[in-house]
């Protein structure tokens, strides 16, 4: 005779930085209405279907692993969400980003480089909008190209708090965004992460900017000579 497994798990939550900010604005601003689940630390390649002890133990490695404590920074938690899909789903939603090879702003084009429109396409499912997270906005500028259609569809990845917390990040919710070149002090690259707002599917591309202040100054000197 053993103890029955209790089906209710109790966990203590901590406020995120955004949560603290809204709580400071008053109780009406802090209004939790829904929840989501995630499995950030799980690597499903550890699910061992050849476990000698049988199918009950396929997930033993994952189930036994200790987990890290929660981070209060929204950008490092809830990255890979659990999704509700029909049982007979054969393939998971896959998000592909266009242009998929990334964006490079070359010295030769300078500040005259054409802006690039970045959009997402979800196969095996549909996303009505995407969240675009430019990790370092000092590398390039990002603006909405095609706005998210249906109101109420917000960011699956939360907004950044402000300049003090994440001075280089920028988050937009849209169907597509425009990435434009800006002058940088030195060659820099960053990552643009795209998240499907309905499926949670993620993809990323690299943005590299070679248009430095020095290269622009050199270009101007050549022109004047």
């Amino acid at each position: 005779m053993g103890f029955l497994n209790n089906t209710t798990v109790t966990v203590d939550a901590i406020l995120t930085k955004k949560g603290r900010e809204l709580l400071a604005q008053g109780t009406s601003a802090f209004n939790i209405t829904k929840f989501a689940l995630a499995d950030d630390e799980v690597d499903y390649r550890l699910f061992d279907t050849s476990h000698p002890n049988g199918s009950d133990y396929y997930g033993a490695v994952i189930e036994s692993m200790p987990l890290l404590e929660a981070f209060p920074d929204e950008n490092h938690v809830m990255r890979y969400k659990l999704v509700t899909l029909p049982k007979n789903t054969q393939k998971m939603p896959i998000l592909s980003v266009s242009p998929n090879q990334g964006i490079v702003f070359e010295t030769s084009t300078g500040l005259g480089a054409n802006p690039e429109t970045v959009g997402g396409t979800t196969s095996n499912a549909t996303d009505t909008s995407y969240t675009f997270i430019l990790k370092d906005q000092t590398v390039a500028s990002m603006t909405v190209a095609v706005a998210a259609g249906s109101p109420g569809t917000g960011a699956t990845t939360p907004f950044f708090l402000g300049d003090d917390d994440a001075p280089n990040s920028l988050t937009l919710v849209a169907k597509s965004v425009t990435i434009s070149v800006i002058a940088v002090s030195a060659r820099k690259s960053t990552t643009l992460i795209v998240v499907g707002n309905n499926t949670g599917a993620t993809a990323s591309i690299t943005i590299e900017n070679k248009v430095t202040n020095n290269s622009l100054a050199a270009g101007n000197q050549n022109t004047s000579n």
């Binding site: 109790t10 829904k34 499926t199």
Partner: protein, 361 residues
């Protein structure tokens, strides 16, 4: 297809059960002193402070602040005189009148608008004394309030010593005034687990006046100056326009430095036991996860290749996920709170779960 699930929020008065339970209050008590310790047995002051504002009050540390940078102020001691005696200055004479400032500060904070002097229980000459000693608990140690009936302070002078507690155990209906609840300070001990009065003497029957007043909601103990003087042989100087050093003398009673060597009566100062009390308001969120939901993952390792095929082939029609965290969102999809499980929780079409997320404020 969904990645969010809305809470079923029902009005608190409704008989229906709700996923969100608000305003759950828990009273948490713990040791008052540094690192949650219940009692202090060593006391220190800062030489830097005693030379600057030591005429007003002295901060008392748990460790020597001169040599240990982890020392933290635990409480402060002060001496107040209605007319300012025992400190420099008087009306028309230069001087800060520190003891008058302290006394008026205490009366203005703890007594009603038209009451200018402390009145203690009991009878005799010292029911309304001219001077008092005060102990004020540091804010970071007090947090919210002191736990009545759970503190004991030893004072030890050159010839005698006393153990002080409050009489909250014998008070069913405490007086509540400007300073919140008020209890009397009496001679006794809580060493046995309950408050035991010395010789059964209550505050009302204390000859010469009760030992003091205890304000748990503010973390302040006001002691009857003349009564404590007699018990502890402080030798307070209450002469007008004279620096009496009475704060130091009172501190010596607490720290045990006024106790003669060889004192073995067990109450040689150096003992302050206390608990604090805090009301934690929580909100409980019941995250109900039915069998048909949250069985797939956007985790990149859940799939293999570029077509979205499952990493584990047997996940077709029998997917399994592992929940490691629960995010609480507002209607704008902003993540306001995050909870982590202690270990991954298996979820599949044959399993359901309820995760209760507790958020303390």
């Amino acid at each position: 297809m969904a990645i969010f699930k809305s809470f079923n929020i029902v009005d608190a008065q409704s008989p229906q059960s709700s996923d969100v339970v608000s305003n759950v209050k828990d009273i948490v008590s713990s040791g008052m002193w540094a690192n949650g310790a219940a009692s202090l047995a060593a006391f220190y002051t800062s030489s830097a402070q005693s030379s600057s504002n030591g005429d007003y009050y002295l901060d008392v540390y748990d460790k020597d602040p001169q040599s240990d940078n982890t020392a933290a102020v635990q409480f402060s001691v002060a001496y107040g005189h209605f007319n300012g005696s025992g400190s420099l200055g008087k009306v028309g004479v230069a001087g800060n009148r520190a003891s008058a400032a302290i006394y008026r500060q205490l009366t203005n904070t703890l007594l009603g608008p038209n009451v200018s002097q402390f009145t203690f229980a009991g009878s005799g000459n010292n029911v309304t004394p001219k001077y008092v000693y005060a102990i004020s608990i540091a804010r970071q140690q007090l947090r919210e309030k002191m736990d009545p009936g759970n503190w004991e302070l030893h004072l030890s002078g050159s010839s005698s010593s006393i153990k002080l507690i409050d009489d909250s155990g014998a008070t069913t209906n405490p007086q509540v005034n400007q300073g919140g609840r008020v209890f009397n300070v009496v001679s006794g001990s809580i060493a046995s687990g309950i408050a035991v009065l010395e010789d059964g003497v209550t505050a009302t029957n204390q000859p010469g006046g009760a030992y003091g007043l205890f304000y748990p909601d503010l973390g302040i103990i006001v002691l009857n100056g003349p009564v404590v003087d007699v018990s502890g042989s402080i030798g307070a100087v209450t002469t007008t326009n004279t620096l009496g050093g009475n704060v130091d003398k009172f501190y010596a009673l607490i720290s045990g430095s006024a106790t003669p060597t060889g004192t073995t009566d067990g109450a040689g100062g150096k003992f302050f036991k206390a608990r604090r009390e805090e009301v934690i308001t929580s909100q409980h969120y019941f995250c109900r996860i039915p069998n048909k939901e949250f069985n797939f993952s956007a985790n990149p390792t859940f799939v293999t290749g570029s077509q979205g095929n499952f990493q584990v082939a047997s996940f077709f029609k029998n997917p399994k996920t592992f929940i490691t965290q629960v995010g609480l969102y507002n209607s704008a999809n902003e993540l306001l709170a995050i909870a982590k499980l202690s270990k991954p929780l298996l979820k599949s079409y044959s399993r359901e779960a309820i995760i209760k997320v507790k958020l303390d404020f």
